[in-house]
Subunit: 423 residues, 2 copies
C-alpha cells in the first residue's frame, strides 16, 4: 500500500477515495423490481421459489416452525456471550428511551400547551444477512431497540442455509431479544416478504446491494432506516497511536468484503510507515486474507490536525477511531460520522458486538445526513396541542393574518367562529 | 354529504376512505425524471427554462438579489404576526433541542462509556409552495427547527410570481428566521436545484405531487423528510363537541385542495346530523367554496369509542382533533397520528400557524411510520465509545465469541492484539 500525502492528491484521486458505493447497476435495479413485483402478485409461493434459486434451499414454509424454535435452548451457557452483549445494548438503548420520555411540555402562550408524546411503530421488519456466514449481532442490534421502542410485532427475515435450517446462534439471539416471528428468506425477496406478506410499517437492517436496492424501491410506500452499504473505517491518529492496533483495526473492516474501505489519516509519517509494515505482517495471518487484500485501503499523511479533521468530515465515515493525544478535543470538531471510538483501547470491533452502541450505521457518506439505528428509528414523537379559549384568543389575530396572507379563508374562520357569540 | 355507520361500510367503501394519495401517475414519474436529468446536466440554465415554462416567469438569475432582499423591511409592524408565530415555534422547538442535549452518558460495563452527541446536518434545502398562493408559515416551520438544530446553510426554494418577484411576506419570514439563501423556483426543478446546484444534504417541505415525486426519486442520494401529500383531518367527537366548530374545522382542511380529506367519526348520531347541517350553511360562505365542495368529506357514526379509536389508528390522520369528554384519556390509545388537538378550543388551523407545533406532517397513512418535522429532522445523534484497557478486557471474550460465530477473524484479533504482551 502506498503512503500518500493528503495535500498532494489530485482531485481525481481524492474523489476516488471519497466515492464509495456508487451507482447501483441497471441489472440489480431491474432484477430487484422483478422480484418485488413477483412477491407482490404471487406472495409466499414466489418467495419460496427465489429461496430455492438464490439460497439453494427447498422450503415448504417460509416461517420458522414452532419445533425449530423449541429445538434451540437459548438459556444454554454457550449463549452467555449473546446475553452479555444484549445486556449492554439494552442499557445503551434504554437510556435513549428515558431521554425521549423526558421531553417537557411547553406553554408557548398562556393557555396554549404544546408537547410531544412517544408512540412506537407497530409492525417492523428487521433483516439480518446470512447464508454462508451468520450474523446474530445484527439481530440484537435491531430487535433490542425495536422492543424498547414498544413495537408490538418484530418480524426477522434472514436467509436459510442450503439444508433449509437457520443457525442456532441466530435463533437463540432472536429468542433472547423477543423477536415475534422469524422468516427464512434473504435478498430482495425477503424485503418484499416483510412488506407485502407481513405488512410491516418500517424496514431496517444491513444487507447486500440487492437488499439495499429493494428497500430503496419500496421507500415511497414504507419507511426504511437508511441506505447502508459496504463497511468502512477511518482512523485519525497521531504519534500517540499504537501501530499494531491501528493496523489490526484497519484490517477488521477490510475483511468484511472486497468493497470495504479502510483509511488511516495521520499527521505522523513515522506512524504511517509503521502501520504500513504492520499491515503486511498481520495480513499474512488472516483467515479472510483474500478479501482483506482486495478491499480499498489508504494511508494518508496530513500536514496538520485541521487538514485531517477536514478530510474526515468530508469523508463522513461509518466508523471513526480517534487515536490522538486529546481525542475528545478532536471529537468536538467532527460533524459527519456514524460511530466514534476514542483512544487506543476503543477498538472498533468492540462496537460491532458488545459496547452496547448500535452497529447499524450509515455508510458511503450518508453519515452526513443519517443517524445510527436507535430507539428513535422504531417510533415517532407525535405532537399534541391543548388550548383554552383564552389561549386560542391570544393567537386568534395571528392566525387570521396568516389566513389572509395565504388565502385560506376557512382557516381563519374556524378560529373566529369560536368567538362569534361574543360580538 | 351522507352520514354512514362505520360498522355498515362495505370493505370496499372502508378501503376507499382509508386510501389517500394512491399511486403516482406514470406521467408525473417520467416528467419528474426528465426534469431532474435536465437539472443534473444543464444546471441553472435548465431551471430557468422550467421556471419560464411552468411559472411563466422570465428570470436571469435563480437567486433572490441583495436588492430584492433589502427592499423588504422585516422589522415593519405589518410583520408582527410573523414574529409572534416565530416566537412560539421557536419555544416549542428549542424545547426539543434541550431534550436532545440532555441525553446522559451510559457506562455499560466498568470502563466502557457509550453516549450520543448532537450534530447538525450542515446544508439543508427547504421548500415552500407558492405561485398563486404564498406560504410564509411553511418557511417558519422549516427554517426555525433547522436553525435551532445548528444547520450552517439553509437554502429556501419557492416559486416566483409571473413577474418574477416573491411575495414580501415570504421574504420577511425568511429574513426573520435566518434563511441563508433564497432561490426563485418551484416544482421538481426546485428540488433538483437544491440537490444538484446547491448540494444540500437534506430536502424538506410540503409540495404538490411533482415536488414529492422529485424528493422520492432523489431519496437514494440525499435524505428527505417524509412523503407529504394532500392535507387531511379526522375529528373524533362525542356529544360534548360543538357542531359549528367541528364543521368549521372540517372545512378548513377541505379548502386546501380538491384532493384533501375531512372525516368526522362520532358516537353521536345527533352530532352527526348537526354537523351535516352546519357544513351546508358554512360552505355557502367560503371564499374557496368550489375547492372545499370537491374534496373528500365523510361523517361516520361509530357504535362506541373503541370502534372510533380503532378507525382513527387505522386511518393514521395527519391532523386529529379529539373533542370528547375526556380527550387525554382517548389520546393514550392513539398510536398513529401526526398532530393532535385536544378539546373544543384546540382548533386545527391554530396549529397550522401559531401554537408553535410544526405543520409539516406525514399524510396518506404515513403517520404510522413518520414523525412530524422537528429539530431531529435537521441533524443526527452520533455515537461515541470510550473504553479503558480494563473496559475492553471485560468484553474481550464476548467479542471473540462473536468473531468466531460470524467468521470474522480480524475482528476478534483487533481486540486480542491489545492484550498480547500480557500472555
Amino acid at each position: 500500500m502506498k503512503i500518500q500525502k493528503l495535500a498532494s492528491l489530485s482531485s481525481a484521486e481524492r474523489a476516488e477515495i471519497l466515492a464509495r458505493g456508487g451507482e447501483v447497476s441497471a441489472k440489480i435495479k431491474t432484477g430487484v423490481a422483478e422480484i418485488l413485483q413477483a412477491v407482490e402478485t404471487r406472495g409466499e409461493q414466489a418467495i419460496l421459489e427465489f429461496t430455492q434459486k438464490f439460497d439453494g434451499a427447498d422450503l415448504n414454509n417460509l416461517e420458522l416452525s414452532a419445533d425449530e424454535l423449541a429445538a434451540v435452548d437459548e438459556s444454554a451457557d454457550e449463549f452467555d456471550f449473546l446475553r452479555q452483549a444484549a445486556a449492554n445494548i439494552e442499557k445503551f438503548h434504554q437510556n435513549q428511551l428515558q431521554n425521549i420520555l423526558q421531553e417537557k411540555r411547553v406553554e408557548t402562550e398562556d393557555g396554549v400547551e404544546v408537547w410531544r408524546e412517544w408512540r412506537a411503530i407497530q409492525k417492523v421488519g428487521i433483516y439480518a444477512p446470512g447464508g454462508l456466514a451468520t450474523y446474530p449481532s445484527s439481530v440484537l442490534m435491531q430487535a433490542i431497540p425495536a422492543r424498547i421502542a414498544g413495537c408490538s410485532e418484530i418480524v426477522l427475515a434472514t436467509p436459510p442455509k442450503k439444508d433449509g435450517s437457520l443457525d442456532s446462534v441466530v435463533i437463540a439471539a432472536a429468542k433472547i431479544v423477543g423477536v415475534t416471528k422469524i422468516i427464512k428468506c434473504g435478498g430482495a425477496q425477503a424485503i418484499g416478504a416483510l412488506y407485502y406478506v407481513y405488512g410491516v410499517e418500517k424496514l431496517t437492517g444491513p444487507g447486500n446491494p440487492w437488499v439495499t436496492e429493494a428497500k430503496t424501491q419500496l421507500s415511497s410506500k414504507v419507511a426504511i432506516d437508511m441506505p447502508a452499504g459496504p463497511s468502512e473505517i477511518l482512523i485519525l491518529a497521531d504519534d500517540s497511536a499504537v501501530p499494531k492496533f491501528v493496523a489490526a483495526d484497519l484490517l477488521s473492516q477490510a475483511e468484511h468484503a472486497a468493497d470495504s474501505s479502510s483509511i488511516l489519516v495521520t499527521m505522523s509519517e513515522k506512524l504511517a510507515e509503521e502501520v504500513e509494515t504492520e499491515l503486511g505482517k498481520q495480513l499474512a495471518d488472516l483467515g479472510r486474507k483474500e478479501i482483506a487484500e482486495k478491499s480499498s485501503k489508504h494511508i494518508l499523511v496530513a500536514e496538520n490536525l485541521d487538514e485531517a479533521i477536514g478530510f474526515a468530515n468530508e469523508y463522513a465515515p461509518e466508523h471513526l477511531e480517534i487515536c490522538t493525544e486529546e481525542p475528545e478535543a478532536v471529537l468536538k470538531q467532527i460533524v459527519n460520522v456514524g460511530s466514534v471510538f476514542l483512544g487506543n483501547y476503543s477498538s472498533e470491533p468492540a462496537g460491532d458486538f458488545a459496547t452496547g452502541a448500535n452497529h447499524v450505521l450509515p455508510t458511503a457518506g450518508f453519515a452526513k445526513n443519517f443517524a445510527p439505528l436507535s430507539v428513535e428509528s422504531f417510533g415517532k414523537k407525535i405532537q399534541v396541542q391543548k388550548l383554552s379559549k383564552a389561549g386560542l384568543g391570544k393567537i386568534c389575530e395571528v392566525c387570521e393574518k396568516f389566513g389572509a396572507a395565504e388565502g385560506l379563508d376557512a382557516h381563519a374562520k374556524s378560529i373566529s367562529i369560536r368567538f362569534e357569540d361574543e360580538n
